[in-house]
Symmetry: C2
């Protein structure tokens, strides 16, 4: 079975601003409504998830994740508008790049064993 | 400083048929004329380089690397025509994908800190 793996990472100095792992984490935060819940979904430690969020929040002009304490529903963690936009733009980039690769990989896949 | 990292890996079952490391190895074999020389250029063990070549030769219909013993110049290791084609096609794919990403990453890079 032939499959294509694509990893796009956007670096900002020594940090990775966004890449496959951070995009998955943003999506998991969106789903779980908390960093701890997202960490559980992805099987990573809370500390690691928190550090990844810190890095993202540092790399972008505005935080991608915000935590509101208290309130009617007891607060929670969610993506900011910037967070949603970064996640969507990153996924779009991946889809475009994959489509570009797939439409030009015929020559190389023809050389693979079947 | 913002930089873009792109990794394209073509899997063939459980093996990686070609990816960044194997492409670098093919180029190093082309340059060094031997697997041991290529391994030195890349700072990897001969054993690791040899295993990567074995995997590539297994994944493609024809070997990508051939070794000729003896002969006027004492033989040597070189890329086959298929090896040259795979390396070129892979590099072309990377260039195309990078161009596609770079022409659509304005939205996300505008959100990064300067």
């Amino acid at each position: 079975m032939k499959t294509l793996d694509l990893k796009i990472r956007l670096r900002c100095g020594d940090d990775i601003a966004i890449g496959p792992g951070k995009a998955d984490l943003l999506a998991a935060i969106q789903e779980a409504g908390s960093i701890s819940g997202a960490a559980r979904l992805l099987g990573m430690s809370y500390r690691r998830a928190w550090l990844l969020v810190e890095t993202m929040n540092r790399c972008f002009r505005e935080p991608l994740v915000s935590t509101s304490a208290g309130g009617r529903h007891g607060g929670g963690t969610q993506l900011t508008a910037t967070g949603e936009q970064v996640l969507k733009s990153y996924r779009d980039l991946c889809v475009r790049a994959l489509a570009e690769i797939e439409s030009h990989m015929g020559e190389i896949t023809a050389l693979l064993v079947t």
